[in-house]
Amino acid sequence: MIRRIAFTLPLLAALLLPARGEDLPYVYTKWKHFTTEDGLPNDHIFAVRADGPRIWVGTEDGLAMIDKRTGKIRSWREKDGLPWKVVTAIDVDPKTGDVWLGLFGGGLARFSGGRFDHYHQLNSGLVNDVVYGVAVENDNIWAATTAGASRYNTVTKEWTIFTEKNAPMEEIWNYAVSYADDKVYLGVWGSGVLEYDLKTGKWKEYLDPDGEMEIDLYRDDGIAHVITTGVSYVDKILWVSSYFGASRYDGRNWRVFYNQDSGLPSDFENNMKARSGNEAWYCTDKGLGAIMDFKTNTWVAYSRDPKTLRGKALVTRDKTVLEEIDLETGVPHSFMIAVDFDGNDVWVGTAKGLGHGIGEGYYPGLRTRPSIVAQGR
């Protein structure tokens, strides 16, 4: 009997606490969907990039731009000058406003002044036309390709190729690239994360110390797995996604997240983006997993019910469910591919449409608040 009470009391407390108010994260409860019916060229969204009032969207069959001021959507296909239809990566040059596009099998394109300039294996120093990631670093454009990384200096027009010959790439299959604080980070499939220091020109590698594919020997001994898919460096914190789990590194300690020990919807992550050292969003094959407070391992996972097509937001701490919020409209699909932040808002590219999470009243970290009541019921 004593054991039963000891078990029941914490359970009751956990159930009651949210009603009284406790430290909980912000939850996006207002979502808007964009699909071909709204003017997108295709519903399979590979890339999304917020640039002030413009939201650039890369799809499996064209590029689109949503103008938030007017609500209008413009799109470009090959017949409109887009060099290749599959747009897998987008970044915007903050100095020039040029939009740089990674094309899946089509190389790299610059969209500027209504014109597309095309860079590919046969007319430039782009190492491969299968481009998975693109990042603007000062005057340089970095492209993560399936056969190495390329860097293009827009001022000198010089190209530099990085492969196993001049970088510590055990494999050359680059997947992601990002830039922050004078460092370029490459997520390399089979080679973990590589950090390139612009000041010293030196590389540093982040690998899984056990070196085995089929196990992760210790949870926090390094990156979760070397098959990485996304990397984001914010507030001197390195966040990483892979097809095997998520990782965070503060320069001294690693923390790895799996579905079994966190609110991560799945260990298969297509991509990720960090908002701060405390908050990062992971695009998984079973939903959008946002760690909203690192210290307390508090997550919000967004998904779409395949039968009712209603949305769901699941708030968890470790593996304890704190809130399960039913949403009339949530994310467009549970298979997440891309994410970007737009002030307090968030944009997500999915296998079936683009989602816009409206962050009215967004707050970082945790706040004491009552439970959110289901929407639209």
Binding site: T145, T146, E214, I227, F335, A351
Partner: protein
């Protein structure tokens, strides 16, 4: 052989799913057993947003690895991968079939044309293997067309053939073209490990099945990609058998390795090296060579000085023959073991009488008495006036698996993937039964090929009474003891 169990959810639970036409087509009906019919119904019910209500394959042990060969076997790992089948959770199942299709295209990618090799800086070296792979694929397509082609529409199957020359990751571009320009429904290929990895990354994003029939790199399947399957036993399985024979049965103490410096050699011997170390017989010396060399005295002098009991070779047939001859010429009479690429005419012709007693791991038994295999051989000889080799036979099996899955699923890439992934029984191939693991890898039996009296003889583990380490029936994380099955 690992038993594969897929327990379908109780039939009573199922009610949804569009009516399909397959029951009205006798040829198609003959391809669909009761389990497959249920899988198809559930796959069809998933649509854009759902996933089929089917249980995922779950292996109790990764790759049937004995406890004493597991990495860090004395430590309980925090996480073990590849035991639960990967799901495809995207929207592809909802894509409607196209109306205007004149043929059902499959892609082929393999090394079929001579080019420059990254590995050697000289001429490429895998065309002989790739051409056989292509021939096996072509035969499967031709036979399927002779039976009526794609049954639902009575249109032929067509093969889109591309060369995989491996330069600057060009295989990725080829997959893109096949996915987005040729609109193939699935792809078969390739052989080189690096090109295979590049290809499957593209296939993952383009959402297209890649059936591999010739790349034995164990890491090929260790990528968590739900769009990848393999119909050939990999170097891990072959290494386990080879090392069990060399150490557990023959009790060799000092083993040396000579291997090619390319990815095939580098990754091929990984399990040999690790297994020897884990069994307390660490490799005494490992030497690498560049492809295309004629003189291996540098490597062999060092191996000779290491006082070895046996030597393991991992590379192509040509290098294997040349190295073996030079070894014998230098008075090195150690038993010579190696990889499946030695089982080739080129090796035998080069090695001559030195080939006697050579033992190679091999992914199947081509001397098996099997009417399917005999029919395949006869048809291959008739069409190409040549003997089929291992690449031809595995490609024939792999393409037949793709054709079957497409016939059953219809013209939808995700459903083709599902039909393969949720298959409940081993595929009855000409290379033997092909049971797919949770990672969709071929876990069928592998063999040892011994060259004697002018020919290769194939021996199973049972034939040679090769001991096997204890294979726990529990995953490592939940196992009660570190090596046992409590």
């Amino acid at each position: 052989m690992k038993s594969l169990t897929i327990l379908l959810l109780p039939l009573l639970l199922f009610a949804a799913g569009p009516a399909d036409d397959w029951e009205k087509i006798p040829e198609l009906k003959a391809l669909i057993d009761e389990d497959t019919a249920e899988v198809l119904r559930r796959v069809n019910a998933a649509g854009y947003y759902g996933v089929p209500e089917l249980n995922l394959k779950k292996d109790v042990n990764y790759a049937s690895t004995p406890a004493d060969l597991e990495p860090f076997r004395d430590v309980k790992p925090y996480k073990e991968h590849f035991l639960l089948q990967m799901e495809y959770t995207g929207s592809g199942r909802g894509i409607p079939e196209p109306d205007d299709v004149k043929s059902v295209k499959f892609g082929f990618i393999g090394p079929i044309m001579s080019t420059v090799s990254i590995a050697t800086g000289g001429k490429s070296h895998e065309e002989a293997l790739g051409i056989k792979m292509l021939q096996g694929t072509q035969l499967a397509i031709e036979e399927a067309n002779a039976k009526g082609g794609y049954f639902r529409r009575k249109i032929p199957f067509e093969l889109v053939v591309t060369n995989d020359n491996g330069l600057w990751g060009s295989s990725g571009n080829e997959i893109i073209n096949m996915a987005y320009k040729d609109h193939v429904w699935a792809i078969l290929g390739t052989i080189d490990g690096a090109n295979s990895h590049i290809a499957i990354r593209v296939a993952l994003k383009a959402e297209l099945v890649m059936m591999n029939t010739g790349d034995t790199d164990p890491t090929f399947i260790e990528t968590n990609i739900p769009w990848v399957a393999r119909s050939i036993g990999d170097d891990r399985q072959q290494a386990y058998l080879l090392i069990d024979y060399m150490i557990r049965k023959l009790d060799f103490k000092r083993i040396g390795i000579i291997r090619s410096s390319n990815r095939y050699g580098r990754f091929g011997v990984r399990e040999v090296r690790d297994s020897c170390r884990r069994l307390g017989r660490p490799i005494a010396m490992e030497m690498a060579f560049k492809l295309g060399q004629d003189d291996y005295s540098l490597q062999l002098e060092r191996l000779k000085s290491a006082n070895l009991d046996a030597i393991v070779f991992w590379g192509n047939a040509r290098e294997g023959g040349v190295i073996l001859n030079q070894m014998r010429h230098m008075g090195m009479n150690q038993p010579f073991f190696g990889c499946d690429r030695m089982v080739a005419d080129e090796f035998v012709q080069l090695a001559g009488h030195n080939a006697d007693g050579v033992i190679a791991a091999f992914p199947w038994n081509p001397t098996r008495d099997d009417p399917k295999l005999a029919r395949f051989r006869q048809a291959f000889r008739k069409k190409f006036n040549q003997e089929p080799d291992t690449y031809a036979a595995h490609a024939y099996d792999g393409m037949n698996m793709l054709i079957w899955a497409t016939q059953v699923a219809g013209l939808n890439r995700a459903k083709i993937r599902d039909i393969l992934a949720y298959r409940t029984r081993p595929w009855p191939g000409v290379t033997g039964d092909i049971p797919l693991s949770a990672a969709l890898d071929d876990l069928g039996d592998v063999f040892l090929a011994r060259f004697d009296n002018g020919g290769w003889e194939y021996h199973s583990r049972e034939d040679l009474k090769i001991p096997r380490g204890y294979i726990p029936a529990r995953d490592r994380v939940t196992r009660g003891s570190l090596t046992g099955d409590e």
